[in-house]
Subunit: 517 residues, 2 copies
């Protein structure tokens, strides 16, 4: 029945290749949004209310089913691809008779874990505000149909920005097209992942298992990440990879009274501080041996794009309250082209009201590593481990037993995370230029081209394993508190997404670069 529906839509396909048709689709989408803004927000709120941490299988499956059903209701042939005990992929096809090109749309519907105590509202209770909470915004009721909507409003919930925003924008575009009888100019394959924030561990397996479904794709479009900090629209050709490790150092086998043993028993918090301090210079440069050795240099086009980037650092420093940055004043864009080593968490006993006069038994640091093209995740963790060894530590994988404690003066438990390498797509492929043109249609001349994003996506699976071009087409505001508490989406960015997707789905149908399919 769904195929029938697409076929019916197919009969109404707009004549190909005309700028007029493209503008029409954007205008149609805008008009639909203006008429149905309250309903779009209501639907988005419904989606955001479903808890979506990858390890919460009930919540994850509820998200997947919801997205599958919404796609199906809008004429997309959709279903769940499953591996046992793993968040499913929501897969959908919108096949257009006569189309010579296939776009794939990637979105991830899972979100980062939450520490609810840091949120102003429950993370999965979406709340509307008349601006940014940091700026003292006030809470609003969700609008009723027909009521005006200020694009500076924000909706707060886990994944509002990362990465349910594209779903909130996609569905209205499909509805608008259905209502207006507009047919996309490409086949579209939708691919919604459910464990991106948990490291996309089984994504490669899913791609391998369903290669037959995906092999005719010409380009992958990643609907994820934030636009430029200047709020200018953005198109990105690569991402940093990601990995990490957690390091725990040990003092005595139980916490000790800091009076009776202080000055004699080793202090794990102090040992950890010394270890972390040894990894970076005071200006933020990583001094772990070999850390920068495998970085692959940029090409000419990429270097040119980098130089054309708007200089937003001064404004950003002011916004973030920073009088200093790492890298001795190098620009953010430059710094993102280097691998990073970040203390993303520290813990040893308690601070604040629960502090006690003890020497804690352990201290732990969670270290995040971002990778650039050329860095291998395992190799980079090996380098950090080798550094820890050079500081005199014996490395263990489990808490040390008494014999191990008595044998080694310094012991560090290192728990290695998974992760994946960076990826970059060449700027000069014809289909890449088609996408750039379509994005410019919705985004205008403000469009910023970025060789590689600071954040991470499992893009390498597509660019390297599947050997396809892959671009990142973000819509979220940069100040969306992605990954942190009080994550949010600015409504103007949701509206931008709707117009952008309308342009992409109706972009000029070029010759497919895959000639023989």
């Amino acid at each position: 029945m769904k195929r029938t529906c697409i076929a019916v839509l197919g009969l109404m396909v707009v004549p190909s290749g005309e700028a007029l048709a493209q503008r029409s689709a954007v205008e149609v989408a805008r008009a639909y949004r203006e008429a149905h803004g309250a309903e779009i927000l209501r639907d988005f709120r419904e989606l955001l209310a479903i808890p979506n941490v990858a390890r919460d299988s009930v919540g994850i499956n509820a998200n997947a089913a919801y997205i599958r059903d919404r796609l199906a209701a809008l004429g997309v042939e959709s279903r769940l691809l499953r591996l046992p005990g793993v968040p499913p992929i929501v897969y959908g096809e919108l096949l257009v008779p006569g189309a010579t090109r296939t776009l794939a749309v990637y979105v991830h519907y899972d979100g980062q874990p939450v520490d609810s105590s840091r949120w102003s509202n429950a993370p999965w209770t979406p709340v509307l505000y008349d601006g940014a909470l940091e700026a003292g915004a006030g809470r609003l009721p969700f609008p009723e149909p027909g009521e005006p909507i200020d694009p500076e409003w924000r909706i707060y919930a886990r994944s509002a920005g990362d990465d349910k925003a594209p779903i909130g924008a996609l569905l209205p575009v499909l509805a608008a097209f259905a209502e207006a009888g507009i047919t996309p100019t490409s086949n579209i394959k939708f691919f919604f992942e459910g464990e991106e924030e948990a490291g996309s561990v089984r994504l490669g397996r899913y791609l391998e298992d369903h290669r037959a479904l995906l092999d005719d794709i010409d380009i992958w479009l990643f609907f994820d990440g934030p636009v430029h900090q200047s709020r200018r629209p953005l198109l990105t050709f690569g991402v940093r990879g990601v990995t990490g490790l957690e390091v725990t150092v040990y003092g005595s086998n139980r916490p000790l009274h800091s009076g009776h043993y202080g000055n004699w028993a080793p202090v794990p918090g102090q040992m950890l501080a010394e270890l972390l301090a040894s990894m970076k210079s005071r200006d933020g440069r990583v001094v772990v041996e070999g850390f920068y050795d495998t970085v692959e240099p940029l090409g000419e086009l990429e270097r040119a794009a980098l130089e054309a980037l708007p200089d937003y650092d001064g404004q950003l420093k002011e916004e973030l309250g920073l009088a200093r940055t790492e890298g001795n004043g190098a620009s953010l864009a430059e710094q993102l082209l280097l691998p990073s080593l970040t203390v993303r968490g520290l813990a040893s006993a308690n601070v604040g009201a629960l502090v006690r006069n003890i020497i804690p038994a352990t201290a732990t640091a969670a270290l995040g590593i971002r990778l650039v093209k050329g860095n291998d995740p395992e190799h980079m963790k090996d380098l950090v481990e080798a550094h820890i060894r050079r500081q005199g530590y014996h490395i263990v994988r489990e808490d040390p037993d008494q014999a191990t404690r008595l044998q080694y003066p310094r012991i560090a438990k290192v728990t290695r995370s998974g992760g994946y390498p960076a990826a970059r797509t060449s700027m000069d492929l014809p289909i890449v230029q088609q996408v750039v043109d379509a994005v410019r249609e919705a985004a205008g001349d403000e469009l910023v081209l970025v060789p590689a994003l600071g954040g991470s996506l499992p893009l390498y699976l597509f660019t390297d394993l599947m050997a396809k071009p892959a671009l990142i087409v973000p819509i979220a505001n940069h100040d969306d508190n992605q990954h942190a508490a009080d994550e949010n989406l600015r409504i103007a960015n949701l509206w931008y997404g709707i117009e952008l997707y309308a342009a992409l789905f109706t972009m000029a149908p070029g010759q497919s670069p895959v000639q023989d399919r």
Copy 2:
């Protein structure tokens, strides 16, 4: 009525000064304990079940009332001394007609705050085990009257060791004396403090307000702290003082995505690590300028006692699972005669299951400082603050506002704790020698004399402000997890306390050193 009761006891006073009489009191106490062991544990359990964190006024007042009532029931004229909004002092008098000497007994009935998640049982639900939990001990029911009691059993609860153990031992001694008609050889004044673990902030005020009650005291006996790590009994002539500070360093004004900003935005956990690492050398020596400059040297007698101390370090390292100690192998006893600087807690965002890919906005370290004779608490904190400034930090007292953030490249919020200085009583005073002799009566030749304990008590108020000798007479086991989770008391140590107090309360009545009172 209570005074009458004491007067009656007074009629039965044992002839003074005979070793026979002293032994009798110890023997009487031992026999009483052997006959009533189960009841003694039951009563102790009842006391331990009353929550006793200083800031919990309901729990604290319940403890004070309980102790007052138990003392009163045993013939001690007792009452609560109060200041508004502060834990009360339980004050009791046992005045002996004809006594020429007045002993004061100090105990604190409050305990350290708890992090319940780290305890094997609820902290105020006392549980009996057949040994140490760390050694895999099994849980036991409390014994019925007449059932045998193994002295290696342990009772687990907050303050089991620190510092309700002396109360658990004191009350049976008074009961035994009443039953056997034994009268102490000194007047005894009981003084139970309720905010020691919260810094004894109002203790000086209490002492000043009630100077008239306390001025005739000849020596203060502090029933607190653990015995030697070898399990040998201990008598201590001084304590380290204590103070501390909490340091928070700042990155951006909100947590950032570690991908989009990692390598550019300052990382508070890294800054904090560098700051802490700058404070100590790798062997644990504090390199904060001036940190050791005000240490007062030991006298001849103290140095001799120090040299006579048993060498227990090797065994202790094995017990604690340490292949290395701070101070390049200096003994624990020597190291305790120096001030210490200890990281007692660290926090920045999360580690473990809740870790997120962020650059946290802040990182905090709780630092404890232990002081020795000569160190002033405020001066020592000034030194640490000066060190922080020398590392390029601007110091604030509240979270910085945006203007402050934009002005200073490195900002540290320093919150100073209260605290108090160290204290030491000279070993050669006659009344001190009387106490040493009485302790040796119960403790035997194993007695260890320690010039200064590593832990802290507000002893300076007594030695300096009240100008009285003050000794510490501990009974708890050293491995009682004092201040930490799973605090406990070994039953043998409770039994030791009963005999020790019986000896002290009936020690040879020497000439009062205060001739003219």
